[in-house]
Amino acid sequence: MDTILFLIFAIIAVACAFNLVLQKHPISSALSLIGVMSSLAVLYLLLGAEFIAMAQMIVYGGAVMVLFIFVIMLLNAESEKSSGKSWFAQIAGFPLLCALVAMFVFLIRVALPPMRDVHFGDWVGGTAEAIGMLLFTKYLLPFEVISILILVAILGAVVLARKEID
């Protein structure tokens, strides 16, 4: 059961991710990204992170991606055209990318010690209660700092958007 679920959603995630990169139109990419995020949410559930799974849907699926789609629609973004610039990215990008993925796979397969198996329901640590306890004790300061960060981001967005009107 775990394997099937993992495979299904991993395949969906990878397929959507490829779609994100390959699609020409931004809105297709955005929808693919939503697909990735949703399947990741399911994977989080499998890993016993129910709070994070829901937060993933609410924050990413509900807020961030809606903003993206909103902006894409607002600007009526077109498909992209190719240009001759960014020579370095064109030349060095692919080899570096391959190296990166190879490095990751090497690290995961070889360098890391063997890991435990995932069984859905074996360990459900990420309940809202547990996360809340940790968030408001050990991570209280980062939490407050990040609240301020959000506030600043709101102000920044408002300022930038106001310029739009002028």
């Binding site: 949410a41 609410i58 607002l74």
Partner: protein
């Protein structure tokens, strides 16, 4: 395998009831609106138009399925599917009653008891904006696009007060699970005031309930916040280009969302399936209510307005009496009575929805945003802060 079997049965039952409700909700709405406007409403198909929903479904199924030539086909087809599936999926975490014994298995009157049920509902409602937005965009029609844009902006804006106000009953209940929240509202103060969130000490959530309902109206794109489909400016908004079953999907998703949001309101603020009266009396209330309905039908029978009534009223009366008897059977009472209370609360709230639709005019778009950010949001915040303060102090 019992688990799967029971789950399948529950899914079947809930789905059946839910779809029927959706179909008949539309009939109720048309009827109520008609009466508010001194009309009679659907009357032709079936007794008192009771078969009207079936006729509508048939009509929509047989209509021509139009596809605008310059639409983005994939998304045009995807949008109603997203809308309706997301709208239907959220009912799965709603509990309708307490733990019951079904074929020797103890189970909940709920498809799935999620620990973070309320977050699930929020997640689904957050994502459900895509159906509308995509429909608006892919139609390649400026009215649709404006409708879609309005819808995304509106739903993001109203989600904030909605979420904030949800937190207050959560603070009182100390859990994210719907079952836990409802259980926290069981019991009575002084033996007769129910401990529902809107009455619950230390900080009654009446205010929060009102804010929730207002934000709920906006979240479901209902009047007075139905800007995305404002017919006098945007033809029909995001679903202008849709016809046939695809249109029906949007239609259904709107009603499904309405039902979901009223269910959530009931669970969070109105004590879920917990009765209005203390236990021994409350078990007999449903039977009395149905008997009262039977009386009304029989009374109406004495002054039939049409020929058909001579046939239909006795049938209705007999049905009501049968229901009353059914609700009086002690074995069935364990799950029928809670379901009755739950349904009646949801029904009352749905009636409010329709009532508001029949009463209030539509907002202007800037008023809508202004209202959300400068009034509703601060209100929700203040409500949350006060609740937190009271919970912390007492």
């Amino acid at each position: 395998m019992n688990f799967y079997l029971v789950s399948l049965i529950k899914i079947a039952v809930v789905f059946g009831i839910f779809m029927t409700t959706l179909a008949y909700l539309q009939w109720v709405e048309r009827k109520v609106l008609a009466h508010i406007q001194s009309r009679t409403g659907p009357l032709r198909v079936g007794p008192h138009g009771l078969l009207q929903p079936m006729a509508d479904v048939l009509k929509l199924l047989t209509k021509e399925d139009l596809l605008p030539p310059y639409a983005n086909k994939v998304f045009f087809l995807l949008a109603p599917f997203i809308a309706v599936s997301l709208a239907l999926v959220s009912i799965s975490v709603i509990p309708f009653g307490p733990e019951i014994n079904l074929f020797g298995t103890r189970t909940y009157m709920q498809i799935s008891d999620l620990d973070v049920g309320i977050l699930f509902i929020l997640a689904i409602s957050a994502v459900s904006v895509y159906g509308v937005a995509l429909a608006g965009w892919s139609s390649n029609n400026k009215y649709s696009l404006i409708g879609g844009l309005r819808s995304s902006a509106q739903m993001i804006s109203y989600e904030l007060p909605l979420t904030l106000v949800i937190v207050s009953p959560l603070l009182l209940a100390n859990t994210l699970s719907f079952r836990g929240i409802t259980d926290a509202q069981a019991g009575f103060y002084l033996g007769f005031i129910p401990r529902w969130s809107i009455f619950q000490m230390p900080f009654p959530q009446i205010f929060g309930f009102i804010v929730f309902m207002i934000a709920g109206f906006a979240e479901t794109n209902r009047i007075p916040f139905d800007l995305p489909e404002a017919e006098n400016e945007l033809v029909a908004g995001f679903h202008t280009e849709y016809s046939s079953m695809k249109f029906a999907c949007f239609f259904m998703s709107e009603y499904a969302n309405m039902v979901t949001i009223t269910c959530v309101a009931t669970l969070l603020f109105l004590g879920g399936w917990h009765p209005l009266f203390p236990a021994p009396y409350s078990n007999w209330v449903p039977s009395l209510v149905f008997l009262f309905f039977a009386g009304v039908f029989l009374f109406q029978l004495m002054r039939p307005s049409r020929k058909m009534d001579r046939l239909t009223y006795p049938v209705f009366a007999a049905g009501s009496v049968a229901l009353a008897v059914l609700f009086a059977v002690p074995v069935l009472q364990t799950f029928l009575v809670p379901a009755f209370w739950f349904a009646s609360k949801v029904g009352a709230l749905l009636f409010t929805y329709i009532w508001v639709r029949g009463t209030l005019p539509r907002f202007r778009y800037d008023q809508l945003m202004h209202f959300a950010w400068t009034f509703l949001f601060p209100c929700a915040l203040a409500n949350l802060l006060l609740t937190a303060l009271f919970v912390a102090v007492f």
